[in-house]
């Protein structure tokens, strides 16, 4: 049964889902674009699927599921026996992945999400970047990444010696900060964080996501 993703290939949260599907070697999915410009995501038909009016939402048979990190976790569980072991191979591996997914969704996401919104998404809506907000959030992000730097000097990946959903979840916003906003110094100036970023963004799954983004 084809998984339907209502979203946009170029969107940060949709790309998190797509990258997970590719890592898990799932091919039977389709992206049904949501026309954000015309406000499709705020119309009743969309709100019936995703009541907060944000993308993406998936339909997999009789399951409707939203929140990209929840969708990614679901894909990892549904396709546990194929593709990359994005949750590791034990209960404690999985717990470490969850720990760093939580760090990503809070400590990391708040400053980088705010910075990327100011630098990139405001521009799409014809609004002006607030440089002081960018500065403050890049500074917070840098402090968080200082902690990552120490951790990644001792561990190849966040949850240990295996690439996991926790690493993958960082890709979309790192991509937007470094390659779209061109403000990635806080990342690339840190030796181990940069090496980790280079490694995870060179994976075939992420290259495929970038192709889909470019096609958008």
């Amino acid at each position: 049964m084809t998984i339907i993703i209502h979203g946009l290939a170029a969107s940060t949260c949709t790309s998190r889902v797509v990258a997970t599907l590719i890592e898990k070697e799932v091919v039977d999915y389709v992206i049904e674009p949501v026309d954000l410009v015309s406000g499709a995501h705020k119309k009743p038909e969309y709100l019936a699927l995703q009541p907060f009016g944000v993308i993406p939402v998936i339909q997999d048979g009789d399951l409707t599921l939203f929140e990209s990190r929840a969708i990614a976790r679901y894909i990892c569980d549904k396709y546990a026996n194929q593709g990359t072991a994005l949750y590791g191979s034990s209960l404690t591996d999985r717990a470490k992945v969850e720990q760093w997914l939580e760090v990503e969704s809070q400590n990391f996401h708040l400053p980088i999400g705010t910075a990327v919104f100011e630098l990139v998404f405001k521009g799409y809506r014809g609004l002006t970047t607030d440089d002081s907000v960018v500065e403050a959030n890049l500074s917070k992000l840098s402090s968080v990444l200082d902690i990552y730097e120490v951790h990644l000097s001792k561990n190849k990946y966040l949850a240990g010696d295996f690439f996991s959903l926790a690493d993958l979840s960082h890709l979309p916003y790192l991509h937007y900060l470094i390659h779209v906003a061109k403000k990635g110094d806080v990342v690339t100036s840190k030796k181990h964080v940069n090496a980790w970023w280079e490694d995870i963004s060179s994976r075939p799954s992420w290259k495929k996501v970038l192709e889909l983004m470019a096609g958008n």
Partner: protein, 215 residues
């Protein structure tokens, strides 16, 4: 085996999140308090196990884990065979639990934290009076989120379906601070199904036990 050691304080919301799940699952645990007022959470000994300088951290034998929402998932998985199934019973149910866990972080957490910091934590710990403009703005945002919860809870007794899950429980500590401590819970009590859901959660024996530990 001694059970799980919880490094934190029962008065803290994130420690409470972990405790309520441990108690629901009937898991053996012990609390090792950390002197936050003396800044113990920023000392090297604590930073070695939680580099962001936060609480709680658990130690399960040699295994250490931080982030309260990661810990509750670990407890729910590890003790799957005992107590209520806080992750649902099927792949679909588990996915919906994850969905509402994500909603708690993405939509619910920021506005309720902002309100509670103003109404309870600022006054209590820093002697700073509440800024009512921030309270108003935060509660307005929270109301929009709770409108979605109201629609969801009209269909099911709990967020992920007709079963209690960790998705419901993670909401308890901040809801209690807003409704039970700050006494500013109109945004909850004015919504019929959200109110019923809150009453159910806050009446759980496990939650009452957490409050007793926090006292």
């Amino acid at each position: 085996m001694g059970g799980i050691k919880v490094i934190g304080i029962p008065m803290s919301t994130c420690t409470q999140r972990v405790l309520v799940v441990l108690i629901e699952k009937g898991a053996e645990y012990v609390v090792e308090p950390l002197d936050m007022m003396k800044g113990a959470h920023k000392q090297p000994e604590h930073l070695a196990i939680q580099p962001f300088g936060q609480i709680p951290v658990i130690e399960d034998g040699k295994f250490k884990l931080f982030e309260s929402r990661a810990i509750v998932r670990y407890v729910a998985e590890k003790y799957e065979g005992q107590g209520p199934s806080l992750y649902g019973k099927t792949l679909h149910e588990k996915a919906l639990v994850e969905q509402w866990l994500a909603v708690e972080i993405e939509e619910f957490n920021a506005p309720i934290t902002a309100a509670v910091v103003q109404l309870v934590l600022g006054p209590k710990f820093k002697g700073i009076p509440a800024d009512e403009a921030i309270v108003s703005a935060s509660l307005e945002k929270l109301e929009k989120v709770l409108d979605v919860y109201e629609a969801q809870l009209a269909k099911n007794k709990f967020l992920a379906g007709n079963f209690l899950s960790i998705a419901d429980l993670v909401h308890l500590p901040f809801l209690f601070l807003l409704v039970g401590v700050a006494k500013r819970g109109e945004v909850v009590t004015s919504r019929k199904h959200v109110h019923e859901w809150y009453e159910t959660l806050s009446s759980l024996p496990s939650w009452k036990k957490v409050l007793a530990l926090a006292a």
